[in-house]
């Protein structure tokens, strides 16, 4: 009997998901209601999504929501934010509660296929890294043999750690904690030599330590964590808009267009830039996407280019001071690359 009920429930659930995902047209919905409902990180990752003291949302992921709103409405205030925990972010997107999930979500094959989402853009290339005390004199993760490593239990981080040390024939002593706060405190108190979690997290944890300058993040990144926005499957127009809102920020950086000089750049002679900013009369780039002609101009004007957003939220302009690294433009040795705007 119980089994029957479970089967019935699963059937109902599957039906529900089927109903909610079939022939959706998010862009029309968004235009009709007049705002983008964006799922963001409400808590634990500094620089990606957080509220400041006056209740305004800031962060790298939040900037992407703003860019989408700027592209559609020309107004970054046309976003409503839904702070989501790691657990309820996927149901929130599946059920249509949010239009767009921009919450440091790793793009993986199972999320792309099994969960019924679509990913395309990667607005932050993250990966698991190590932080050590400078006094250890360690310059590379490969020198960590025999070290005790603080790690949060039950995460992929823990598995990656074991794999990495086994693959490199090194010993290590895991010091495992249930909660991240405990792991932070233990590392701060010197209970382990190294601390491992996603690199973006390491920088914010470093700020909570007694003396941040005594610690360094090692260069090795031992896992791939491409973080990007996710939308519901089978809505390619909406996926186009979300992805191109992000690509526009990257392209603007490639073109050297910033928030400050975007008005000036409108008068540029470069045909690429003119086309990008919607200054060419016969260009239909915007309307083909279902957006106003000056969509890219609005994004750069109100949010800035990708580099500006990065530096402001997580880079040198923020307390986190994360290096561009993998997130530098492809022309500067990074992975951030926008397809041509033509």
């Amino acid at each position: 009997m119980a089994k029957k009920i479970v089967t019935a429930l699963a059937g109902v659930a599957a039906l529900g998901i089927g109903v909610t995902t079939a022939n959706a047209d998010t862009l029309s919905d968004v235009k009709a209601k007049g705002f983008v409902q964006c799922g963001v990180n409400g808590s634990n990752l500094a620089g990606f999504g957080a509220q400041d003291s006056s209740g305004n949302w800031t962060g790298l992921d939040v900037d992407l929501c703003k860019a989408v709103a700027a592209a559609i409405f020309g107004d970054v205030s046309k976003v409503k934010y839904t702070p989501l925990s790691a657990k309820d972010r996927f149901p929130a997107l599946q059920s249509g509660e949010i239009d767009l999930l921009s919450r440091n979500t790793t793009w993986s094959i199972s999320r792309d296929s099994q969960l019924g989402f679509d990913f395309r853009a990667v607005n932050y290339y993250d990966g698991q890294g190590f932080m050590v005390r400078k006094e250890l004199g360690v310059k590379s993760a490969l020198e960590l043999s025999g070290a005790s490593v603080c790690v949060q239990s039950g995460t992929t981080t823990e598995l990656n750690l074991a794999d990495y040390f086994r693959a490199n024939n090194m010993d290590f002593k895991p010091v495992v904690f249930e909660a991240q706060d405990e792991a932070d405190a233990a590392y701060n108190a010197g209970r382990c030599d190294a601390y491992t979690t996603d690199a973006s997290g390491l920088y914010s944890i470093r700020l909570k330590l007694g003396n941040p300058d005594d610690h360094m993040v090692l260069p090795e990144i031992i896992s791939k964590e491409p973080l990007g926005p996710a939308v519901r499957q089978n809505d390619s127009r909406w996926l186009d808009i979300v992805s191109w809102s992000y690509y526009a920020m990257v392209a603007a950086e490639e073109f050297g267009i910033t928030q400050a000089n975007v008005d000036e750049m409108k008068g540029s002679d470069n045909p690429d830039i003119k086309r990008f900013l919607g200054e060419e009369a016969d260009s239909t780039i915007g309307s083909d996407l279902g957006l106003p002609k000056d969509w890219a101009y609005q994004i750069v004007k109100s949010v800035g280019n990708y580099g500006e957003s990065f530096e402001r939220n997580v880079g040198q302009g923020s307390p986190l001071k994360i290096e561009r690294g993998l997130n530098a433009l492809w022309t500067k040795g990074g992975l951030q690359y926008a397809p041509p705007v033509r």
Binding site: A50, G55, D88, S95, L207, N211
Partner: protein
Amino acid sequence: MTTNSMTYVRDNFIAPEAPPLSNASVIGWMRTNLFSSWKDTLLTLLAAAAVLYLLPPAIDWLFISAVWTGVDRTACLTVDQGGQLASGWSGACWAYVGDRFEQFMFGSYPRDLLWRPLLVVGLFVALLTPLLIPRVPRKGLNALLLLVALPIVAFVLLLGGPFGLRHVETTLWGGLMVTLIISFVGIAISLPVGILLALGRRSQMPIVKMSCIAFIELVRGVPLITVLFMASVLLPLFLEPGNNIDKFLRALIGVSIFASAYMAEVIRGGLQAIPKGQYEAADALGLNYPYKMMFVILPQALKLVIPGIVNTFIGMFKDTSLVTIISMYDLLGIVKASFGDSGWITPVTPLTGLIFAGFVFWLFCFSMSRYSAFVEHRLDKSYQR
């Protein structure tokens, strides 16, 4: 009859002597209460040592070394960490609580509309205070205003919509405001529903009895966190997109159902403690069921279980923090969420924030507990010796 005829009888009292100094003074008090035996002396000394050991550093950390003013994280950082304070400094960062105070109280509620929650708080206090003071008359009208009129007014004021008030979605609500709304609704609903469920469970009618038992046992058997999570994650999947029941409403319903089931069991304890003779006496007077319950049984039963009822209230007040699991930010949730703001990351802000949240929770729970002690004392005359 002469007064002098029985000279051996005293006709005036000797003025009473003051008690010996060793009993009346502070020393006497200490001797009886703190040092009456060697075990007491040992415990007193140990306790005093613990207090002396812990209290000065705590006071120093919380008040003396604490930072009271500042606009961002640099105010609470030492020189090593890029701030101004002396190396090795540690203390509470009250500047961060001050900077975040509005957010801790109201969440993301639009700052230009804060008069609305403040007005609701004002009305609430204005209606609750006379209800709590026994001398003030018109309790019935007062309770009606507090429990029926106020929720409607508060709903309209906070949510907006009619009368040209700007609509404020519940996703923007947060902080202490959410904690108080959920607890108030939970308390206001759980007491009457709990009484009905308790009576239903002791009813002679099989269907009523069975359904009450089923409801209570089902709800008590599942953790609140599971119900909230199911309501938040599974429910939207079953519903058509766009028909979502508001998340805040889901939390309210979940918490109220829970509190009602627990309350029912507390009240049933009180009902069972009433001797059978009371029921029979009420029957003998010819009272029908509602009268019997209202005038004979419940007044005695509820009086007995005041500690249990208040215990449930306090537990529920603190359980509201579980709504964080469905991304509603109550006081504790919003304090924890603020740790993610890179503008205020320092080694001391998390601890300061948690101490602040703990203090606010304690303030409310302690007030409830003191008031319940007062009510017990007032109603319990018959049992006092």
